[in-house]
Symmetry: C2
Subunit: 404 residues, 2 copies
Amino acid sequence: MKIISGGVCAAKGFTASGVHCGIRKNRTKKDLALIFSQVPATAAAVYTTNLVKGAPLIVTKKHLSNGVAQAVICNSGNANTCNANGIEIAEKMSLAIANELKINKDDIVVASTGVIGQPLNLSAIESGIPTLVEKLSANGSLDAAEGIMTTDVAVKEVAIEFTVGGKTCRIGGIAKGSGMIHPNMATMLVFITTDVKISAEMLSKALKSDIQNTFNMISIDGDTSTNDMVTVLANGMAENEEINSENEDFAIFMKALNTVNVTLCRAIAGDGEGATKLLECSVSGAKELEIAKKVAKSVICSSLTKAAMFGADANWGRVLCAIGYSGADVDVQKIDVAFKSAKGVIDVCKNGSGVDFSEEKAKEILLEKEIIIAVNLNDGECSSSAWGCDLTYDYVKINGDYRT
Amino acid sequence: MKIISGGVCAAKGFTASGVHCGIRKNRTKKDLALIFSQVPATAAAVYTTNLVKGAPLIVTKKHLSNGVAQAVICNSGNANTCNANGIEIAEKMSLAIANELKINKDDIVVASTGVIGQPLNLSAIESGIPTLVEKLSANGSLDAAEGIMTTDVAVKEVAIEFTVGGKTCRIGGIAKGSGMIHPNMATMLVFITTDVKISAEMLSKALKSDIQNTFNMISIDGDTSTNDMVTVLANGMAENEEINSENEDFAIFMKALNTVNVTLCRAIAGDGEGATKLLECSVSGAKELEIAKKVAKSVICSSLTKAAMFGADANWGRVLCAIGYSGADVDVQKIDVAFKSAKGVIDVCKNGSGVDFSEEKAKEILLEKEIIIAVNLNDGECSSSAWGCDLTYDYVKINGDYRT
């Protein structure tokens, strides 16, 4: 299993593109992206659990009811959510791209991301579609990844090569993240492509299982978005024997999918709105997996812990506090906490009480860009990680006036 | 029922004081407070649900098991939490003040607030106690209120006069808030005194009922503190006929208690760490009270909504988003949202979709210091309010380096 270039175009038969069509005011920012499979692909998706759902999610869910898709279209700059005509617009957007690609409109995954509650300019999208299709290319993943960015600073793409039954297979993905990131049983916008041959049922099973430990374990700001969605398109062009049970090939595919997802999770968390640091809370020694997950997520969501990390302040009491209100059944008297980074490890709490440590060494560790908050519950064998970022002046700045 | 001055000394028989004893480095900040009742009082308290509990809470809970207390001692600058010797220190602090006051050590409410996980300097407290007792005065409420402040900017005190069975009664309270404020089944530090004669059982019933709609409905930052506590001391010196059932007198007392608590809630929320605005989310038209409460609290906790309010940006989509992920059973298509302040009201969302509104007028409304986010679920008769504050650069500044 090796990391390769190419993002969503790494797998056989996939092309992609991205253009500026006029939804975003800044003409240097792409705002429309397309991913296309040469042949119809098996498709699976998961969606936000927010009761307020973006119109594109409702349309996509209908389109994917037969487990087949051939293209993904996504605009940034407008979420097409809480608009009275949202579903109609999402359907027209699907129809326009399907007509241009000469494929079935029900084989379109449609997505939107950006501000909520402002009418989406369909004519901008329709005017951009001919160029979008014309630019489709096997080198287009980066353009597509740029097309779905909102307040993201960094492009998020990844691809992996692996072998199933002697056949070389590839899987790749792009993502947008940044703000309103606190996925719950689903996630932000992530589009994954693979040339693996896999049944719709097994593809869905793989995706639903993996996101519990990847996208559902990140949080930027505690706000579960209305437009979260992850989709996987598997077009079978690697010509492996179809995966249709939980066999060895499925395990290999799960590992590849997990590698793609963890990479995108870390990229999303590290590029949270205003973030200067990627935080990982790594919990071990839990008596149940759910306890490890609850604790990890509670710490990663704590505003006070996030602000302390921004200030490189080893204020571990806030970590203990977040563990205590997590709702998880833990024995406080057994908890150990350490901070880790490329500069080393420092123990700050043993058995629920503070230990003497060098503030100087702690500062050196916490000034790094990637910090691990290591929690050992000393109460069992289960472990879990959650990812997030620090809380900074720039988060407030970006969100104090996002619409203008 | 009228608002009067005097805070925790407004009720007959109560005196208070506050001094600097040396826990906080800044000698101009008081760090030790005392409230004393001339006679033993009926006492009730509620505590944080955080599994990590401050040592003083454990000691206070033991002391209040007989429903009687006569004095409250509280230091700021150190939470006495996650310290191996915390309980021993809290007990010694109780003993020292009891000896000086010549009362039973089991009649002491002991509390601490400040940084977690650093040893509490008992000798500073012991050295401050003689002056603290010497300074006890019927004008001492303000000193005591100052003594319990941490990052609070404003002193929080209130008192109410009312009549029970022809007797003039008074109730007053002081509070500290500011950060790590997301009370759950309990609250931050609040000390209430009253001269009403009421049984321990009814006092506890009144307190536990009222906090569900007051302190449990505020959030500054989503972090439920380890040291949250509200206590009420009722010394009976108003000489009303003892309240020992849910009669008319109890209803009057509940109203007085609620007025005190709502006033302190608003004071705590408006003085959240770094806050420039008091936010109230007022939810009406819910089919169940729990739905109204969940929706109100979800909106008030949303980092994105809080940042938008800081920027005076009418980004109502974030309000809808927070309602959608609240976990409450709502019909999104029925929801109306308006923003209100002293400058007027503006409707921004009807039936779950945006309506045209003047951005200029919205800005004028949102530039005020007190903002109401009014949500009508149009689905029933229940209503609820939650209080919080905006998310600002100063919140990040205060918490990026709190310990130094």
